[in-house]
Structures are given as structure tokens and as C-alpha cells.
């Protein structure tokens, strides 16, 4: 026989499909774990991806109503002639606005509230609606010289339309409750909720004074065919030199989109981890599945099927299951994303209309097939090396898999993780770090498992009782599952507790110290001549004045002799633009405060009559202004030029909730400059806070009061919403973790059953076997759970040091709830899976096993 020509198999691809279908349909129950892993992993990724896509699409679709106009020119100063000329050349603004934060008093209830005053003139908003209650108030408040007050504030303070509001020195009737203004999200405006009043009444409030932080906005409706990008390109740099900005509706929506994009990237990573756990589940489930199929493969080979054919039968089966899992996971993901707006509503800038993005659906389906095949490849390779001789007799050891092919599969898996994380993060550095982190976590956990096995082998407690010894022996006997189970339990626990600890880090950044000497109320915009009276008002109520900070506003005039204008025109200048345009709020004092430490140079407490004033700047100012100690900077202090030299550079902890400054002058220079003051106090409770606020607003309407506790409540609310999403994703990880656990326990089930049955045959009682099994799972649960939590403690500590630069006080929840929870879960899953060993007679089990 000419072997090259005649020995070929004639079974075609159709037959392979038919075999895959026949075999798969009869094995469907065994593939439940596999399907569940894919479905959950894909649902996590698809729900986040699809929601992100929808959000981006909605932001871009609603970009005009987000801004309320086609474009806007804004500045922190009244527009100068040049800016006015530019606006005239555009046909003049269609609407204008002056805005600032201030205290408002409600005479009816005598309550006060920090608000954002927005004085509006013209038909703003031109796109989108001012939603008010009654609806007619949106159109009539301008004519009636009335105010529209944020609906939540009205509800909180018990105010009705028709009541009045006092802003500065003017009292206005309230025309209606403001439910939404284009572009504002509830969560971001809850610190200072908006109050709309007619523009012409702003001057009557008397609140626009020196030092007030006021925004000037001019809204435009574009002519037909006007190119927004071109407009931005032409006018942006021009307005920049005049301390003004141009924002078009497209650039604003892009900026907003990218802000949510970052948040989305983080969630995507969390979802991806759930997906990866799912992949571990796939590998584990396929491992069990293929193990059960090896005999069938040997029979098929025996009756003439080639290696390739048997491999393809199961590969096709897995790819098809992957596709099915992809469809189910995508479907579930698309359903789940509908829940997100319910929980995130306030955080979102637009009403998100859910639609199905074809790109995401395709991704879900492809991911299902690709992931299944990739993670099934390694166990599937077992079919290639199984000898047909196994049909004749059971050989315990089949030929080992090719090392080269195994390495290739492993490389393929890491490449997939790298490419997929790059697709999610769009940053190679982060993607490599992510993959390195995964490899490191897996390696450490594998190391722990191996070290544990070695240790118990070396120091085996021979004096222990039979069940305890037997259960320990099980941990390092041939074909033990210690490594797999420690990995599965460890990774799951690591992930979930890291999510918890990260939340702790975020919260500790925002937590206000509760000592009585740390400020929780800040009073801004106090004119110098009001200071003593304000201090008196505070101290009369037995409240302390903790800080009295003077603030002088100034701008940079020149750095090292180079004027700001020269630097603005110089395209090679790498001085950050904000340094050149920013109005700095500067203070003077003789010592450093708690949030500061000297990084370089020498601190000067006080000077008298010097030509060059030695000042101290923050490290970020020095970086952005490209200055070092000894460099000269001239400031324009409201018309007067002041020469200074950088005397020292400070490191400032900006995350502390207190007044920090980029520039600090020594005493003896700015005392006579026009200035306003900031006072801080510690108010013990809400009642005395409200009381103090009422009195201050009545006496000094220009003073702005920030109650840090209220701000904190808002931040906590925000974190709560975010942590809901994180928990939601963690839930997927827990579920997939359980599946991985189930898979791992089932893999070792047959080994355990065989041994347990032998023990029973030899006379072991049920409770002895139960004890052996329970102890074994207990060791594994404790080892895996504890390693995972300790590893996450370490990684969270590193995150706190390097990323958040914040102290980290871990909560006890992972130790008190998660750890015992995981151990109990492992015990339950393990014992439930082995209950047949305990409840059935030995012969029955043996018969079942051989069948």
C-alpha cells in the first residue's frame, strides 16, 4: 500500500460538526459550569461596555442641550475691550450670565444655604429646557424680577413658590422650583445648588466686589454652517491671551465624555477581572470535561479517527458553547445595563437612552468564542496525546503534553490579556502593569500553596488523630487540588477585599477629622473691615476662631525678567499656561502649617523694607512655572508691581480639607494691600451651625459659608454610588469565583470519592470521613482566604502610598465577614459535592464510578 497516497480520512467537516453536536447534546449537563463561567464573565464586560458606549453616545447627541448653546465664551474677569471686540465680530452674544457662590437667606424659615447665583439675561438656554415647577416659571422669572431656586433646596428647607429669597442685599420672590438646568448634574451642584435670577439684579445684590470669585459667561447660537472646530482653532488661542476661554458644545461634550471615560475604564478593569476569573472557570470546567472524554477519544482513535479529528470535535463543541455563552452573556449584560441609570441617575450628566450597540454585541459574541477556545486549549491538548491503547486498558499516565505547545498556549493567554486590557485602557504602560500584577498575584498564591505543601510534608504532625492526619495528607498526595483551590479561593478573595480596601483609602481621603481643633466651617470673602465684627459674632456664640487667613489676589507679571505676554507668544516656552493667566489667592504668615513641609530653600518668617521679597511656593507651582529657589518672579498686586525671589519650595498635601496656598509671602509686605479674610471655626453640631449661618448671613450677606460636613455628606453620597457599581462588579467576581471553586472541587471529587469509599469499605464511619473532608476544605479555605486578604492588604497599602498618597486604615470587614464567609462557602461547596460518599453504600458508589 502506498501510504502517502491512499491513507487519508474521508470524513469531512460536516461529520466533525455532527459528532460535536451528538456528543455535546448528551453532555450538556456537564457543561453547565463552563457555560456559567462564560455567561457571567461576558455579562460583566458587556454591561459596562454597552453602558459606557450608550453614555458617550447620549452625551454627544445631547451636546447642545448640555451647554444650552452652540458655544460660550467665559472668563473670571469682566471681558476687556479685546474680548468684547471678538464677541462683536461674532454678532454679539445671544445671552450672558454672571455667576458666583454666595449665601442665601430664606426669610420665611430663617434658614440659610450656600448657593450658586446665576444672573441670566437673554434666551438661555437655547437648547434643552429649564425644567421648573410650575413650568411657566421658566419663562416668567425674568419679567417678574423673580428667582428660580433649586428644587431640592426648596424641598429641604420647606420653601414654596411665592416665598422670598434674600441674596446679598436684594430680596426676590421665588417664581418656581428649578428641577434641571442644561449641563448641571445633581450630584455636582449639591454643594452649591443653582439659583437663577435676572442678570440686571446682580449689581443690586452688592456681592460682586474685589476678591469675589465671579464667572462671566457669554452664550452664542451659531450661524448655520459654522464650523465649531475651526472656530475653536481660530479664536481659542486669541481668547486665551485675554484670560478668556471658548467652549463649543462639541468640545464640552468630548471633555465630559472623557471624564466618564476614565471612570468607565476603571469599571471595565473590574469587569475584566470578573471575566478573567470566568476564564479560570472555563479552564477548570473544560479540564474536568475533557478528563471525562479521554476514554471516548481513545475509542474514537481506536476505530479510526485521527488526532486532528478528535481534537476538532471537542474544539468545535467548545467554540459552539462559547458562542452560546457569548449570546447568553451578551443578553444578560444588555439587560443588566438597564439597571445602571437607576442607581447612577444623579451622577450622569444626561438622561441615558439605552440602545444596543452592535460593536459591543459583536465583542460579546467574539469574546465568548475566543475566550472559550483559548482557555480550553491547554486541557484540550490532552486529546492529542491520548493513546488509542487506553481503549484496551486504563493506563494511569498518558504521554505528557508537549512542553512547547503548552508554553505557546500560555503565551497566547497572556497576549490575550495584554491586548484586551490595552483595548480597555488604551495605554500600554497600564496594560503591562495590569498583566504583571496578575502574573505576580498568581505566582505569589502558587508559591504560598507550594510552600504550604512542603512545610506540612516536612513537619508532618504524626501525633495528630487519624482524621486530622488523613486530611492533611490529602493536601499533598498525588493529584491533589491544593494549588488549584488556593489559586481559585485566593484570587477571588484578593479581588473582593482589594475592592473593599480601595474604598477605605478613598473614604479616608475624604474623612474629616473630628477633633475640635480641626476646622469644619470655612467663612470666605470677609472684607478686612468686617473681620473684627465677624470674629465677635463667632466668639459670642462660644465658638472658636481657628484660623484667620488674609488673602490678597495677584497675577504673575514676569518670571526671570520675561513678561507674561512674551511667554504667551513664545511657542517654545514650557511654562504651564495656567501660571500666566491665573489670579492667585495669596496669603502671608510667619510659619508653615500642618499640611506643608519644606522641600527646598529657606523659610522666611518676616521681612521689612526689602527690594526682593523672599516668598515660598508650592512644589506644583515650581514645576509648572519652571522656577527654582533663587529665581525672580514679579507679581501684579492689583496694579502695583511687586518683585519677589523664590526663597523656598514647599510640599503641600492638597487632599487635606483645609486652606492651602500655592504662594505664601512672609509677614511685613502685604499687610496694607487690598485684601479679604478667610476665617475657620469648629462648630459642634448642625444646630449651632445653622444658627451661626443665619446670623452671619443677616449681618454680612457678602460672606460665603462652607459647612464641611455638608460637603462631606455629598462626597459620601458620591462614593456610595460609585461603590455600588464596584460592589456590583465584585458580585460578578464572587459568582464566577464560586464557579471556579465548584469546578476545582469537582475535579478532585472523584479522587476523594475513591479514597473515601475504600476507607468506608475498610470500616471508617461516616463521621470520620466527614471530618476528614471537612478538615481538608477548612485548611484550603483558610489558606486561600487568608493569603488573598493579606495579599490585598499589601496591594492596597501600596496603592495608598503610590497612587492615592493617603494614609490607609484598613476596615475589618474583609477579616470579619469576607474571610469566615469564604471559608464557610468552601466548606459547604466541598461537602455538598461529596455528600454522595457519605450517604451511599460503598458498593453503590463504586458501581456508579465504574459506570
Amino acid at each position: 500500500m502506498n501510504r502517502n497516497k491512499t491513507i487519508t480520512s474521508r470524513a469531512n467537516f460536516g461529520w466533525l460538526l455532527k459528532m460535536a453536536w451528538r456528543d455535546g447534546k448528551a453532555s450538556s449537563r456537564k457543561l453547565i459550569l463552563f457555560m456559567a463561567s462564560i455567561v457571567l464573565g461576558i455579562a460583566a464586560v458587556v454591561s459596562i461596555q454597552s453602558f459606557g458606549e450608550n453614555l458617550k453616545e447620549n452625551i454627544s447627541l445631547q451636546s447642545k442641550s448640555l451647554m444650552g448653546a452652540d458655544f460660550r465664551i467665559d472668563s473670571n474677569n469682566p471681558p476687556n475691550e479685546r474680548v468684547l471686540a471678538i464677541m462683536d465680530s461674532l454678532g454679539g452674544a445671544d445671552a450672558r450670565e454672571i455667576s458666583f457662590t454666595s449665601m442665601a437667606a430664606f426669610p420665611k424659615t430663617e434658614l440659610t444655604k450656600l448657593i450658586q447665583v446665576r444672573g441670566i439675561e437673554g434666551g438661555f438656554p437655547f437648547y434643552g429646557d429649564l425644567e421648573t415647577e410650575p413650568a411657566s416659571a421658566a419663562g416668567s422669572y425674568q419679567e417678574q424680577d423673580a428667582a428660580l431656586v433649586d428644587a431640592t433646596v426648596m424641598l429641604q428647607l420647606g420653601i414654596q413658590p411665592g416665598d422670598s429669597i434674600k441674596i446679598g442685599t436684594v430680596t426676590l420672590p421665588i417664581a418656581g422650583a428649578l428641577k434641571s438646568v442644561p449641563g448641571s448634574t445633581a450630584i455636582f451642584s449639591s454643594v452649591a445648588p443653582p439659583v437663577l435670577i435676572p442678570y440686571r439684579l446682580i449689581s443690586e445684590t452688592g456681592l460682586v466686589q474685589t476678591g469675589s470669585r465671579v464667572g462671566y459667561d457669554y452664550y452664542f447660537v451659531a450661524n448655520q454652517g459654522m464650523n465649531m472646530e475651526q472656530l475653536d482653532k481660530n479664536l481659542g488661542p486669541l481668547l486665551d491671551t485675554q484670560d478668556a476661554d471658548l467652549d463649543t458644545h462639541t468640545s464640552t461634550s468630548q471633555r465630559l465624555g472623557s471624564r466618564y471615560d476614565n471612570f468607565g475604564k476603571f469599571l471595565n478593569l473590574v469587569a475584566f477581572i470578573a471575566l478573567l476569573l470566568g476564564c479560570v472557570g472555563i479552564a477548570s470546567a473544560i479540564n474536568i470535561y475533557i478528563k471525562g472524554k479521554l476514554r471516548a477519544v481513545a475509542i474514537l482513535k481506536c476505530i479510526g479517527a485521527t488526532k486532528r479529528q478528535t481534537f476538532l470535535i471537542y474544539l468545535l463543541q467548545i467554540a459552539a458553547m462559547g458562542l452560546l455563552g457569548g449570546i447568553a452573556g451578551t443578553g444578560l449584560g444588555l439587560i443588566l445595563q438597564q439597571l445602571f441609570p437607576l442607581f447612577l441617575g444623579d451622577l450622569l450628566p444626561v438622561d441615558v437612552q439605552m440602545s444596543f450597540s452592535p460593536q459591543v454585541i459583536l465583542m460579546g459574541l467574539l469574546l465568548g468564542i475566543f475566550m472559550s477556545v483559548l482557555f480550553a486549549l491547554y486541557p484540550l491538548m490532552g486529546t492529542l496525546y491520548i493513546s488509542p491503547l487506553q481503549a484496551l486498558r486504563v493506563q494511569n499516565e498518558s504521554k505528557s503534553k508537549s512542553g512547547k505547545a503548552g508554553t505557546l498556549v500560555l503565551l497566547g493567554i497572556f497576549l490575550f490579556i495584554l491586548l484586551f486590557s490595552y483595548w480597555l485602557l488604551k495605554d500600554w504602560r497600564y496594560s503591562f502593569s495590569f498583566v504583571a500584577g496578575i502574573i505576580l498575584t498568581f505566582s505569589i498564591l502558587a508559591g504560598i500553596a507550594k510552600a504550604f505543601m512542603k512545610l506540612i510534608k516536612k513537619y508532618f504532625p504524626n501525633s495528630w488523630g487519624f482524621p486530622a492526619r488523613q486530611s492533611l495528607l490529602n493536601l499533598f498526595r498525588p493529584q491533589n487540588q491544593t494549588l488549584t483551590l488556593v489559586l481559585a479561593i485566593g484570587v477571588g478573595t484578593f479581588l473582593i477585599s482589594t475592592l473593599y480596601f480601595t474604598k477605605d483609602v478613598l473614604m479616608s481621603q475624604a474623612t474629616l477629622e473630628t477633633q475640635s481643633n480641626s476646622p469644619n466651617m470655612i467663612l470666605l470673602d470677609i472684607q478686612s473691615e468686617q473681620k473684627d465684627a465677624v470674629v465677635k459674632t463667632i466668639t459670642e456664640k462660644d465658638l472658636p476662631v481657628l484660623d484667620d487667613i488674609a488673602i490678597v489676589t495677584m497675577r504673575v507679571q514676569s518670571i526671570e525678567g520675561k513678561s507674561v505676554n512674551q511667554m504667551k507668544d513664545d511657542t517654545t516656552s514650557n511654562v504651564n499656561r495656567w501660571i500666566l493667566t491665573h489670579e492667585f489667592r495669596v496669603t502671608y504668615r510667619d510659619s508653615l502649617i500642618a499640611s506643608e513641609s519644606l522641600q527646598e530653600g529657606e523659610w522666611t518668617s518676616e521681612v521689612q523694607d526689602v527690594e526682593m521679597v523672599p516668598i515660598s511656593v508650592s512644589d506644583n507651582f515650581a514645576d509648572d512655572a519652571k522656577v527654582k529657589v533663587g529665581d525672580k518672579v514679579t507679581f501684579n498686586v492689583q496694579g502695583v508691581l511687586l518683585n519677589t525671589v523664590i526663597g523656598s519650595i514647599r510640599t503641600v498635601d492638597w487632599s487635606r480639607m483645609q486652606m492651602n496656598f500655592s504662594i505664601v509671602f512672609p509677614k511685613g509686605v502685604l499687610e496694607d494691600a487690598p485684601q479679604f479674610r478667610v476665617l475657620t471655626s469648629n462648630v459642634p453640631n448642625e444646630e449651632s451651625s445653622a444658627n451661626l449661618q443665619q446670623e452671619l448671613v443677616k449681618k454680612y450677606p457678602n460672606v460665603t459659608i462652607i459647612d464641611l460636613r455638608q460637603v462631606l455628606t455629598v462626597i459620601e453620597g458620591l462614593l456610595d454610588k460609585i461603590s455600588w457599581l464596584i460592589n456590583f462588579m465584585a458580585f460578578f467576581s464572587i459568582l464566577t469565583g464560586i464557579i471556579v471553586l465548584l469546578g476545582a472541587v469537582r475535579t478532585s471529587k472523584y479522587q476523594r470519592i475513591k479514597e473515601s469509599v475504600l476507607l468506608r469499605t475498610l470500616g471508617a464511619k461516616s463521621d470520620q470521613i466527614l471530618k476528614i473532608l471537612a478538615l481538608e476544605y477548612l485548611y484550603l479555605g483558610v489558606l486561600g482566604g487568608l493569603s488573598g486578604i493579606l495579599l490585598s492588604l499589601l496591594s492596597s497599602q501600596m496603592l495608598a502610598w503610590f497612587l492615592f498618597d493617603s494614609p490607609f486604615i484598613p476596615s475589618w470587614i474583609p477579616f470579619l465577614v469576607l474571610f469566615p464567609g469564604i471559608v464557610v462557602l468552601v466548606l459547604i461547596i466541598g461537602l455538598l459535592n461529596s455528600r454522595s460518599v457519605i450517604t451511599s453504600p460503598p458498593l453503590e458508589v463504586l458501581r456508579k464510578q465504574s459506570a
Partner: protein, 228 residues
């Protein structure tokens, strides 16, 4: 008569730790086409190993096997698989049916592997022939041991093999059922002229074959070819 199997100077060793165990030592024999032949010997004598080598399920360390005119040594694993599919039938002690396929599908698989269009029709005919006309769509787990072995016999003949290897075909069956299966094998051998090679330690069964090869400790004992 033509020789369908020609075995010369066959050697097979297995490793057990650092030790090497010779399982088959200098085995030589021939089988004529259409013949019935049995290999007998006590446990561990190398019967099943010899059958595996003759059927191309494993490779010998030295010596040669010529099966249906093809030197097995020169074939790759896949080529041996295809050769088995075209020329060989198998009946195993523990039936070795594919548990996820029905009786009919099990019988049809060897033909389907050849790309035959009438696999199902032939499968049905064979199942009817072995008395399982009412069990086409039953899965192996729904059949008794005897029924399973009859399906295995039907499968073994489905590709009209030139030679059929049976490894302890009655080992897992009660005497009465075992007898029926053996009758079936011999009848089919007669009808289709297939060479029948049976590995057994049942001397009564061996004596029904035309020739017996006795193995002990991996060697052929007494007169290798025992004509009855």
C-alpha cells in the same frame, strides 16, 4: 491463502521507574485471511499488549508487523488510525461504546469516518442482525451488558473489516449472554469472511478457533502454531 497478519521478532518493553520490563519477547507468527485465531495465556502474559501492537494501537520496540499488506512500523499514528478504520474491527472486554452516542450512531461512526453516505442504513441493518432492531436510539447506559456488547459487535463489522480483534469479548458477560455474543462473532466471520483474532484466557472459547497461540511471560510457549 494470503497472509493478512505477519508478525516477526516482536519485542516490547515498558519502563517502571528505573526498571525495564520486557512484556513481549521475540514473537513471530502469521495469520491467514479468513482464519479464526486465538491468543491465550494467563494474566500478565502479554496477550493484550500483543493485540494492541497487531492492531496498530501501539508501537513495538523492535520487530515488524505487516497488516493487510502494510508495514505498521513505517506509519504515523494518524495513518495507523486510518488503516484501522478501513481494515480492522474491534470488540473489547468492557464494550467501549461512546457513551454520548446512541446505539445506531455508535455503529455508524466507523462508516461515517470513511465518508460513507449509507452509514445509518448499514448501521440499522447490522443492529437488526444482532437482534437490536428496537434499540436504535438507546444510549449505552440504557442497554444491558449483553446488548452493549452486541452493539459493539455490530460496530466492529460495520466497516466490513478484513480482520477483527476481540479482547476478552465475554469477560464482562454472564455465560449465556457470552455464548450468544461468541456465536454472533463466529457467524459474522463465516458470512463475511472476516479474519477473527480473539484474546482470551477461556480455553473453551479458544478451542472454537482454528489456531491457538499460547503466551507465558511474554514468550510463545510450546508449538506456537497449534492447529486444531
Amino acid at each position: 491463502m494470503t497472509k493478512i497478519l505477519n508478525v516477526r521478532n516482536l519485542e516490547k518493553t515498558f519502563s517502571s521507574g528505573s526498571k525495564k520490563i520486557t512484556v513481549l519477547h521475540d514473537i513471530s507468527f502469521d495469520i491467514e485471511a479468513g482464519e479464526t485465531f486465538s491468543i491465550v495465556g494467563p494474566s500478565g502474559s502479554g496477550k493484550t499488549t500483543l493485540l494492541g501492537l497487531c492492531a496498530g494501537l501501539d508501537q513495538a520496540d523492535s520487530g515488524s508487523i505487516d497488516l493487510c499488506g502494510t508495514q505498521l512500523n513505517s506509519l504515523t499514528e494518524d495513518e495507523r488510525a486510518i488503516l484501522r478504520n478501513k481494515n480492522i474491527g474491534f470488540v473489547f472486554q468492557d464494550f467501549q461504546l461512546l457513551p454520548t452516542l446512541t446505539a445506531l450512531e455508535n455503529v455508524a461512526v466507523p462508516l461515517e469516518l470513511q465518508g460513507a453516505k449509507n452509514a445509518s442504513k448499514v448501521g440499522k441493518e447490522l443492529l437488526e442482525k444482532v437482534g437490536l432492531g428496537d434499540r436504535f436510539h438507546h444510549y449505552p447506559s440504557q442497554l444491558s451488558g449483553g446488548e452493549q456488547q452486541r452493539v459493539a459487535v455490530a460496530r466492529a463489522f460495520s466497516n466490513t473489516p478484513s480482520i477483527l480483534f476481540a479482547d476478552e469479548p465475554t469477560g464482562n458477560l454472564d455465560a449465556e449472554t457470552g455464548e450468544k455474543v461468541i456465536d454472533l462473532l463466529f457467524n459474522l466471520n463465516k458470512e463475511s469472511g472476516t479474519t477473527l483474532v480473539i484474546v482470551t484466557h477461556d480455553l473453551e472459547l479458544a478451542q472454537r478457533t482454528q489456531r491457538i497461540l499460547r503466551l507465558k511471560g511474554g514468550k510463545i510457549i510450546e508449538n506456537p502454531i497449534d492447529t486444531l
